[in-house]
């Protein structure tokens, strides 16, 4: 009797432990995904949902295979613009934040305009930027628009991070003869790093959204990214192709997020609390 309850208890613990292990963690959402896809396939196959409303997963897979060249090219376009906008946003945001930390005057003068840029919906700026830069350089238009969206979180967080440096440490460094540059590079920038990295995770996603929105808003014919693929496909009621492009967009977003999480782990694992593993 005692033994049996012990066995039961042990079994329950084993299941519980398995669900908490590293192996099971990515498996759980995968299983959920499979079930949803199965239900989706069944629904579209037997319940006569029109493929124009909802194409089946298999049809989407077909579209992926059939149009792979075009889709791959579109993915590359969207990805390259997203990455370029993101990198430029990080460079620009950090550079401006450093300038702000060196000069309060500059911060007072420019920060409000950074906010204006942030709160104005990008979709409203898109036509104007398009006219300014020109339809013949639509990639540049997309880059600028995506940059505008991705830039602000970097600027805001890095500015905050640079300002969060421990005042006692600043005093200590001054006492030991540090100059402004040493305080910036040895104290303020490392302090700002966790702030910057978490802003990068937000900003990476925003760069993708910015690119997509910009493609929708500005891309009349010359843009060739995934968003434009979706626009064209839905216009022709090729829903499977539209969903294929949509799936690729999600995939890009997920890849971006995981890459940035990995970067965060690499940069902060040795010292930052956020990377500290809980003791078992």
């Amino acid at each position: 009797m005692d033994e049996r309850t012990n066995d039961l208890e042990a079994a329950r613990r084993a299941v519980w432990r398995l669900s908490g292990t590293n192996l099971a963690k990515p498996l759980i959402p995968l299983v959920v995904g499979m079930i949803v896809l199965g239900l989706w396939q069944g629904l579209t196959q037997y319940d006569h949902v029109s493929p124009i409303v909802l194409p089946s997963p298999l049809a989407i897979a077909h579209a992926l295979v059939n149009h792979w060249q075009q889709l791959l090219f579109a993915s590359w376009t969207t990805l390259s613009i997203t990455l370029a906008a993101f990198v430029l946003a990080v460079i620009g945001g950090v550079a401006l934040a450093v300038l702000f930390s060196l000069s309060r005057l500059l911060e007072h003068a420019l920060y409000p305009y950074a906010i204006v840029l942030q709160v104005t919906p990008v979709i409203a700026i898109a036509p104007i930027i398009t006219i300014w830069i020109g339809y013949d350089r639509i990639d540049l238009v997309l880059l600028v628009l995506a940059w505008i969206v991705a830039f602000f979180p970097i600027l805001a967080n890095t500015t905050l991070g640079l300002r969060s440096a421990d005042h006692n440490l600043i005093d200590l460094m001054r006492l030991y003869g540090a100059n402004r540059w040493q305080i910036l590079t040895r104290l303020q920038l490392p302090t700002a790093l966790p702030f910057l990295v978490s802003a990068m995770k937000v900003s990476g996603g925003l760069a993708l959204i910015g690119t997509v929105v910009a493609e929708f808003a500005a891309g009349t014919g010359t843009a060739t990214g995934l968003a434009w693929t979706i626009t064209l496909a839905t216009r022709n009621l090729q829903m499977a192709e539209a969903f294929a492009a949509l799936a690729l967009l999600s995939l890009l977003g997920i890849a971006l997020f995981f890459s940035l999480s990995a970067l965060e782990w690499l940069l902060l694992r040795r010292w930052h609390e956020s990377a500290l593993k809980k003791p078992q």
Binding site: N168, M173, L175, W271, L276
Partner: protein, 279 residues
């Protein structure tokens, strides 16, 4: 009051003309922006090699005074003088204030790195400083992996690494448990004796100030000024036996009583009564 007068007269011992003080605070006053008077008319000589504690109620301007001595802040009035030249100064705060992205060794080497000491020599000296505070073997530990007491030791090692002549400590052990604190007190005394350092040590604890100091400086409530200076005559070598001795408790009682008087009668009138009673 009579008892009080009895021990106060040895204030005059700084009249010894053969030695110049290391540090001379001349009528220091500090009023912060916004008009808050933190300290007023602070007058203090610190002899070379002395161990001086500053004790006083919270907010009386002890930290302000230390920051002014360190040159991190200018006084509103008065002057900080170093008659024989400004010595190298080390500073230890109440919190360890370490850089979490640097390991213990690299944190300790910070003052040397800032001064442009070449990497290998800086490392060697930092290693030595860590050894002296009892942290040999923890050179490559990051602050988050160290206990509160160990972090404080790194902080002291960092101050030692710069080879200061004057060590300023602002309630360095206030956040530690009693045992760790006593251990660090003993270690600090040892370092002080070995290096011939001059230490100015801010604390809230009567016992800590009595145990550590050669001289206890008692401050009044804000705006702080010096209420009394108590020279302690206990031997340099202090240990557990001293902590339990009658001499220690007598000294602690003196300090405690002066502090109580300073708290109650910090007013101008009391100050004059006190000083005239001394004369």
């Amino acid at each position: 009051m009579i008892q009080f007068v009895c021990y106060s007269y040895n204030l005059g011992e700084s009249g010894d003309v053969t030695t110049m003080p290391l540090l001379r605070l001349h009528r220091i006053a500090k009023t912060y922006d916004g008009g808050l008077a933190a300290i007023r008319r602070l007058e203090l000589d610190v002899e070379r090699g002395d161990f001086v504690s500053l004790i006083g109620p919270s907010g009386c301007g002890k930290s302000t005074a230390l920051r002014i001595i360190a040159g991190l802040m200018a006084p509103s009035e008065g002057a900080v003088g170093f008659p024989e030249g400004r010595p190298g100064i080390g500073f230890v705060f109440q919190e360890p204030t370490l850089m979490p992205w640097r390991d213990a060794l690299s944190n300790t080497a910070l003052p040397l790195a800032l001064r442009g000491v070449p990497g290998s020599e800086a490392q060697m000296r930092a290693r030595e400083a860590l050894r002296r505070v009892g942290l040999a073997g923890f050179e490559h530990s990051y602050p988050r992996a160290l206990s509160g007491g160990m972090k404080m030791r790194v902080s002291i090692a960092r101050a030692l690494a710069s080879a200061p002549r004057l060590l300023l400590m602002d309630e360095p052990f206030a956040a530690l448990d009693e045992l760790t604190r006593q251990q660090l007190n003993d270690d600090l005394l040892k370092l002080w004796r070995e290096d011939g350092l001059t230490v100015i040590f801010v604390t809230h604890s009567v016992f800590e100030s009595t145990y550590l100091s050669q001289k206890v400086v008692v401050m009044t409530p804000r705006p702080g000024r010096i209420f009394d200076e108590i020279r302690l005559t206990a031997p340099l070598e202090r240990d557990e036996t001293y902590r339990l001795s009658a001499e220690f408790s007598a000294d602690a009682t003196k300090v405690s009583r002066a502090l109580k008087l300073a708290m109650q009668d910090g007013s101008e009138a009391a100050y004059h009564n006190h000083t005239s009673a001394m004369a």
